[in-house]
């Protein structure tokens, strides 16, 4: 079959069973859009390319499939960058296709030319500049393979306009041949046996489970491990929802804003079982004092994560689901209640608390109420800031893969477009966005896309008229010198909602939340709930910079 490379690209996407692409057109990507004209692939026209990248990211997280983005050269491509970096940090599979100026102009500072493969080298798993049109099908095949296997991540394909227009013989490769890319899936037998021995001997084991559990669909195995060896489980932020939030063995999140019980358990454990987690600085606090008495078993699909930040006693490279299956076959039921009693005591002694009533609506209360109404079953997207941490603390997830949030990059503006992608991927689930008034205004132009696509997302703004998380940092580290964190003006969000034709609520008190939040969550269509909340709240507990995670304070 003789077709243009642009048409071939669309055929490749169809072969990869891509159902939706998020994008924004322009001159250099024109041939690809022209080829899409005849395709059944759904195209979601966003309002800013950053929204396309975050939406593809949210879609990928919500479905486990590869998210696909299209953008034009130059500014189109640079607008994707935050989204690419975000996906890279959180190991989300994306394929991003950018138009490029014609080959003859590459390197000449042509109109809307930017070296996007150069720019994205450090934030993609791999990228391609297509020079030979006949190679395009192979490149697309490789890109999807690389993005979705091993440790997932974004792959970018930069396609010069003339290459896109070149006629090629189309054939989609059946297999990938990448001699430099062979992820390890099966854990090493001897290492797994060694891990089983350590577990059998441990007196105070803790399971520390990260986003890798979700990427490898290993929630069932995680639960089986915890229940077999009776070990408490703590999640990283990225790992939240991989373990049932209401399970008696669950400690909550660990680290900077983790529960005291989780942080104390890790600090006092004699065996730390790290599963698909990477000992990030937000988790470890002062790394020299992190789990100081523990032997460490570390399972990860990315060998470079093992031994990167802490020394590891039993390194196991592999897919955490397969490794856990092999490990479970070697484990015996373990019952030692003394450690669990201690952990239980910490849980009882240090429950999460949002301080005394100050007569104002507490943002934490809104999240608690959201949890109560939805029974922990909703898919919750968040933005970045205090509200994000309150979701992490107070929303106890029941279903794996239900938290859509920017962890590693912490990119404000992620929430709204990511919720959009998640709802497109999961049209039948209740998708709720919890967002700050700051982050909401970073990407709120995507409201138009949400309305256009008829997405019934429930948007809850925890509106404190302040960049809450930074305000908290300034309170703790700058002796309360509040600089550039207060908003003196907000648009009237109700009027804004009306402008988009969205139903809205403004809630000021507990009573109003009790009365209207259930209604807002079950109303049809997109809903905006503007909660006017107390601006003085802090995320507690908090581990001060440089301290051990066992030295959390309340501020």
């Amino acid at each position: 079959m003789e077709i243009t490379a642009a048409e071939a690209l669309v055929k490749c996407l169809e072969k990869e069973q891509v159902e939706v692409v998020f994008g924004y057109p322009g001159g250099a990507i024109l041939p690809v859009y022209d080829a899409l004209y005849h395709s059944s692939i759904r195209h979601v026209l966003v309002r800013h390319e950053q929204g396309a990248a975050h939406a593809a990211d949210g879609y990928a997280r919500a479905t486990g499939r590869v998210g696909v983005c299209l953008a034009t050269s130059g500014p189109g491509a640079t607008n994707l960058i935050t989204g690419i970096a975000n996906a890279y940090m959180d190991s989300v599979p994306l394929v991003l296709i950018t138009g490029q100026v014609p080959t003859s102009q590459v390197g000449t500072d042509a109109f809307q030319e930017v070296d996007i493969t150069g720019i994205t080298m450090p934030i993609t798993k791999h990228n391609y500049l297509v020079k030979d049109a006949s190679q395009l099908p192979r490149i697309v095949k490789n890109a999807f393979h690389i993005a979705s296997t091993g440790r997932p991540g974004p792959v970018l394909i930069d396609l010069p306009k003339d290459v896109a227009q070149t006629v090629i013989k189309f054939q989609y490769p059946e297999t990938v041949q990448l001699r430099g890319y062979k992820p390890t899936y099966r854990g090493h037998r001897n290492q797994i046996a060694e891990a089983a021995r350590l577990i059998a001997r441990a007196e105070r084991p803790v399971i520390y489970a990260g986003g890798g559990i979700l990427n490898s669909n290993a929630s069932e195995e995680l639960l089986a491990l915890a229940e077999t060896i009776n070990a408490p489980v703590t999640n990283t932020f990225m790992g939240l929802s991989s373990f049932p939030g209401d399970h008696p063995l669950f400690l909550g999140m660990l680290g900077l804003h983790g529960t005291r019980a989780a942080n104390l358990a890790v600090t006092n454990c004699d065996l730390l079982i790290a599963l698909g987690a990477r000992f990030d600085d937000r988790v470890t606090g002062n790394i020299a004092q992190f789990a100081p008495q523990a032997g460490v078993i570390h399972v990860d699909i990315d060998p470079a994560e093992i031994g990167k930040n802490v020394p590891v006693h039993v390194p196991i490279v592999g897919d955490v689901k397969l490794v856990l299956q092999d490990l479970l076959a070697r484990l015996e039921k373990r019952i030692d209640n003394r450690w669990l009693e201690q952990v239980e005591a910490w849980k009882r002694q240090y429950p999460l608390s949002c301080g005394p009533d100050n007569g104002k609506l507490k943002p934490q209360y809104v999240v608690q109420k959201l949890h109560e109404i939805t029974g922990g079953e909703a898919m919750v997207a968040t933005d970045v800031g205090q509200h994000q941490m309150w979701v992490a603390q107070y929303y106890r997830f029941k279903r794996p893969g239900s938290l859509i949030s920017s962890g590693g990059l912490g990119a404000m503006g992620f929430g709204l477009p990511a919720a959009m992608g998640a709802q497109i991927g999961q049209p039948d689930r209740l998708v709720v966005l919890v967002v700050g008034d700051g982050g909401f205004q970073m990407t709120m132009q995507e409201l138009a896309t949400i309305v256009e696509q008829e997405l019934p997302i429930k948007i809850i703004i925890l509106n404190n008229f302040v960049l809450g998380m930074v305000r908290q940092l300034q309170q703790v580290y700058c002796e309360g010198r509040y600089m550039a964190v207060e908003f003196k003006f907000h648009p009237d969000f109700e009027t804004l909602a009306r402008a988009y034709g969205i139903r809205s609520y403004t809630l000021r008190t507990k009573e109003e939340v009790d009365k209207y939040l259930p209604e807002a969550l079950s109303a049809p269509g997109t809903v905006l709930v503007n909660c006017l909340v107390s601006a003085e709240e802090n995320v507690n507990p908090m581990v001060p910079a440089g301290k051990s995670i066992s030295e959390a304070i309340d501020c």
Partner: protein
């Protein structure tokens, strides 16, 4: 701090050098030298990278390099029996009175004179690190006007090799 010599086989793709160089600078690894050229297989290039660091740094270097899709194979030859060579071109200023001395030094190091000017001599010398350093030191008193080194290349001795295995997998020589 130890110096390690890595033989890295990479796909001969555009941008691969930038990927490797970018990785080193981004992660704060120190490159002592890097030499790159094609191998017996035109689709494959070989980089010889001399890197400084303790065992932990070296482990990270190797693992991070492995993550690059274009990197096919990495061998740390440091602890192996290997030959290594580097080539240096040195231009020294010599007046006719000292020319004989310089030529004698060249002789001792089995260097070759590749160019002769009225006031300069350009010498070429190959050898391992130590020899090249010694050669440079011996010429320094005469006044080195210009010096360029290629960076080290290395190859295992005997029948063992760090080239592509048949199965083409990424692996390290243990």
């Amino acid at each position: 701090m130890m110096r390690h010599t890595l033989a890295v086989l990479v796909e001969n793709n555009p941008g691969v050098l930038a990927r490797v160089a970018g990785l080193f600078s981004r992660r704060g690894f120190n490159i002592d030298s890097l030499a790159v050229g094609r191998t017996e297989n035109p689709a494959v290039s070989r980089m010889t990278i001399v890197v400084e660091g303790d065992a932990r740094v070296l482990e990270q270097v190797t693992k991070q390099l492995h993550k690059l899709v274009d990197v096919i194979k990495i061998s740390d030859v440091t602890a192996e029996e290997y030959v290594d060579r580097e080539l240096v071109l040195i231009k020294v200023s010599v007046d006719p009175a000292h020319r004989g001395e310089v030529m004698q030094i060249a002789d001792i190091f089995r260097a070759r004179i590749v160019d002769l000017g009225r006031r300069t001599l350009t010498l070429e010398c190959t050898g391992n690190d130590g020899k090249i350093n010694a050669f440079e030191e011996s010429l320094r008193p005469y006044g080195i006007k210009e010096l360029v080194r290629t960076g080290k290349i290395a190859m295992l001795r005997g029948a063992r090799f760090t080239g592509l295995q048949d199965n083409g997998t990424k692996e390290e020589v243990q």
